[in-house]
């Protein structure tokens, strides 16, 4: 319970900061912090595997993707960003409010979610793996094919067209 009480406000603060910060890089880093704190929350709640996967997927891949796209596209000046924030703030709030209401409704409706489970969940990693590769095998296979195709596609995209290099102009 204590980790929950410490981590939840921290997650919320990081999330609000990510939405509020004017500089995109700060927002992206706060988002990474928020995602890693969610991973910590999973670990604190005893779901070690999902917590570590949260780290490697969301912090190691998703946050890096965002950060990298920020590196490639030069962010504009701060003043411009502030203007844009004023313009996009209201639609963003309008979009996220229904989600927030829905989440709150679900949480208070199902008060059992707020109570701690009586005993440790009996789901070991081996059991999880067995279920994934028996009951959910088609889904896992479909995902695997999709991801492999995406990877090959990315490698093909990254390959430059085979043409002779032009001599650099020395102007």
């Amino acid at each position: 319970m204590i980790p929950l009480l410490i981590l939840t406000p921290a997650i919320l603060l990081a999330a609000i900061g990510a939405a509020w910060k004017a500089r995109p890089v700060h927002a992206a880093l706060l988002l990474a912090l928020c995602l890693s704190l969610v991973g910590c929350l999973y670990v604190a709640m005893g779901a070690h595997f999902i917590g570590l996967v949260q780290f490697s997927v969301y912090v190691g891949a998703v946050a890096i993707l965002i950060v990298f796209s920020l590196l490639i596209t030069r962010p504009s000046d701060d003043d411009e960003e502030k203007v844009r924030r004023m313009k996009t703030g209201m639609p963003a709030l309008a979009c996220s409010l229904p989600l927030l209401v829905m989440l709150g409704f679900t949480m208070f409706k199902q008060s059992a979610l707020l109570e701690a489970p009586a005993d440790e969940p009996a789901m070991s990693l081996k059991v999880l793996g067995e279920i994934l590769f028996t009951d959910y095998a088609p889904a896992v296979l479909a995902m695997a094919v999709l991801l492999t195709a995406v990877m090959i596609g990315a490698a093909l995209f990254a390959r430059e067209p085979s043409k002779k290099p032009e001599p650099p102009s020395d102007s």
């Binding site: 190691g60 891949a61 890096i64 590196l71 990693l125 990877m151 490698a155």
Partner: protein, 411 residues
């Protein structure tokens, strides 16, 4: 021997138990003072962590000297030879220099992130060192998901490099960070896929159990390490190449290529922050080599049955020394690759081979299950040899622009 209410066991003094001796002693002393149980275990954890950090910081200091000496020997120089006997005090001199240098934060830098960058680089390396089984009885943190933990904390390094590069507020750190992140992301794939083959074969994600699954000897002398199987050889070579790239070592040290972009993401750092980058880099090198040893070189298992009397952690550190020396040798021998060659090598060479090692491992598993060693070797060897040969030839002939490159200004 009984002192107070906690027993001092003579078994703690056995060579096999030496790495845990400080922890036992501290726990014994704390219990002797009559402090509560939870304080005893907390003191034990801190001592255990202190031993890991202390040992590897000592090895870092030693390696910084050995590296310079080895490079000097290869390049026909003396290397450091002024501080102390044969330059043995050079790490101390370096440390004093780093600590007393002025810490400069550029005017354009984001000071908080500028400070966080080097700290964030050291933390994951230390965390990763915590789950490695150094000896039969010495795993600082025996996690069931050790391997996943290792790669999960490794993800933090990329963010740290980005933070360091971006917060400096100038162009070379930014370029260095971009290079570093693209290189780390690309080489993490072959690294993880080749580790996956080992997970598949040993059926566990716990590093101590992976080491135990490599115990025993074929024909009484050949150790059953993963490297000595066809799939393990293929995956192991991929793993070690990807290791060099993940640790940003030469020939893949583009992120900090001194002759191209000053020092990459470390350009705007000085003093102890700069030293922290080096500590992080070397601890990361130790961690990833230790993982490679655990996965492919049998961890703490001794190479020959007659050497079983030596303590297991000694074998681990001997293997670590050999692997690190091979990295030094590679650094002294190979020139730095270009960024396009680096990417092409990862995506077109290492990842396909790493992916192929998975079906190879599956074939090996089923052939071995039928107790047919010869069939297993015959069925898997072509799967290993043909891709290596074909890709090497392709890589040299067609895909590499190095062969068709014209030098406009050098001719």
């Amino acid at each position: 021997m009984m002192l107070g209410n906690v027993e001092f066991e003579m078994a703690w003094l056995a060579p096999e138990q030496w790495p845990r001796l400080p922890q036992h002693l501290v726990e014994w002393l704390v219990a002797l003072c009559g402090l509560p149980e939870w304080l005893v275990s907390i003191a034990g954890w801190f001592t255990s962590a202190g031993v890991v950090v202390g040992v590897f910081m000592g090895l870092f200091a030693l390696l910084s000297l050995i590296e310079r000496k080895t490079l000097a020997r290869v390049q026909n120089r003396y290397g450091p030879n002024r501080a102390g006997w044969f330059g043995i005090l050079q790490p101390v001199a370096d440390g004093i220099k780093m600590l007393t240098k002025e810490d400069i934060v550029p005017a354009k830098a984001d000071w908080l992130l500028h400070l966080l960058g080097p700290v964030l680089i050291v933390i994951p390396s230390i965390l990763a060192l915590g789950v490695i089984p150094y000896g039969q009885d010495w795993v600082p943190v025996p996690l069931e998901l050790g391997l996943v933990f290792f790669f999960a904390v490794g993800a933090m390094t990329e963010i740290a490099v980005f933070v360091a590069g971006w917060a400096s507020g100038s162009k070379f750190p930014m370029l260095g960070a971009m290079r570093a992140i693209s290189q780390m992301v690309s080489y993490e794939l072959p690294l993880i896929i080749s580790a996956l083959a080992v997970v598949m074969m040993s059926g566990t994600l716990s590093l101590p159990e992976i080491v135990e699954s490599q115990g025993g000897y074929t024909l009484g002398f050949l150790p059953q390490w993963n490297l000595f199987t066809p799939w393990g050889l293929s995956a192991g070579v991929v793993f070690f190449i990807a290791c060099i790239a993940e640790a940003n070592r030469c020939p893949f040290d583009l992120p900090e290529g001194e002759s191209e972009i000053v020092a990459g993401h470390m350009t705007e750092y000085s003093g102890f922050k700069y030293a922290l980058f080096f500590i992080g880099e070397y601890l990361g090198l130790f961690a990833i080599s230790a993982l490679g040893i655990t996965l492919f070189l049998g961890g703490w298992q001794s190479p020959l049955p007659i050497f079983d009397f030596l303590p297991s952690w000694l074998w681990f550190f001997a293997k670590l020394a050999v692997v690190i020396f091979i990295f030094l040798w590679i650094r002294a021998t190979f020139p730095r690759v270009r960024i396009d060659q680096l990417m092409r090598f990862a995506w077109l060479c290492l990842i396909p081979i790493a992916l192929l090692s998975l079906p190879t491992a599956a074939i090996w598993h089923y052939a071995n299950k039928a107790n047919n060693d010869i069939v297993a070797w015959i069925a898997t060897m072509p799967l290993v040899l043909i891709p290596w040969v074909v890709l090497t030839v392709l890589f040299n002939r067609r895909l590499s622009p190095a062969t068709t490159r014209t030098y406009h200004f050098a001719e």
